[in-house]
């Protein structure tokens, strides 16, 4: 039921929202999160590498977890790979539910787990100097862990 995609192309948030809600009359709440490539410290580009055979499987598992934990009517996860320039969207998560708390919590959950349990790696290309691999942040681990502490 979840819609999972890994792609180089940009995504169309409005089209994805329409697809998730089309033909449904039981959706009262639609939450979204868009992650965007930020202009930090002279960043020229960001290259997203992934583990193709594993990626969609990992995302599907994360989405299934969200569907099992919250009464969602559906969810969409799109993650881009390849070379992205500042201002470009990287990731989209959409969650739909009868009620707002389920949609909002599941959206936050999906992002937290995606950040720690999906095989993507970011390499930053500064305008000057060699590229550098982005290091994992402990705060992302903490954010992901909160969903295993709560009954959720």
């Amino acid at each position: 039921m979840p819609s999972i995609r890994v792609q180089e192309a940009p995504f169309d948030v409005a089209a994805e929202m329409a697809a998730l809600t089309a033909g449904r009359t039981d959706i009262g709440a639609l939450a979204s999160f868009t992650g965007i490539c930020r202009v930090d410290d002279g960043l020229a580009a960001m290259v997203l590498e992934h583990y193709p055979a594993m990626t969609e499987r990992a995302l599907a598992r994360i989405a299934e977890q969200a569907m099992a934990r919250w009464p969602l009517t559906g969810c969409t996860v799109i993650h881009r790979v390849g070379r992205l320039t500042p201002g470009e969207p990287i990731v989209l998560v959409l969650t739909a539910s009868a009620h707002r708390q389920a949609a909002l919590e599941a959206c936050a959950f999906l992002m937290d787990w995606l950040k720690t349990k999906a095989p993507f790696w970011k390499r930053e290309e500064p305008r000057e100097g060699p590229p550098r691999w982005v290091e994992a942040r402990e705060s992302d681990e903490d954010a992901a862990a909160r969903w295993t502490r709560t009954a959720g």
């Binding site: 055979a53 995606l114 993507f120």
Partner: protein, 83 residues
């Protein structure tokens, strides 16, 4: 056994994958990492404890005690940073 490397592991080792014959007695992710570390100084450095290297066996994340066997696809990579 096919071993895959991603992100800076791939770069440091100069390869995205390699075929490795599993020596007798090597039956877990942790033991396999120890074996791989003997293959070259670059392997030893990249796979050293404390580097925080993660593993997936047959497309699922796997801890050091996870079993490995001939025919598995085993991948090593840094902590993920997507999203």
């Amino acid at each position: 056994m096919k071993i895959l490397y991603f992100a800076w592991l791939r770069e440091r080792l100069g390869r995205a994958e390699e075929e490795v014959t599993l020596p007798p007695g090597i039956a877990t992710v942790g033991a396999l990492m120890g074996h791989l570390a003997t293959l070259s100084p670059a392997h030893a450095e990249a796979l050293a404890p404390g580097k925080g290297v993660r593993c997936a066996v047959n497309l699922d994340f796997a801890g050091p005690d996870h079993p490995v066997a001939e025919g598995d696809e085993v991948a090593f990579f840094p902590p993920v940073t997507g999203g």
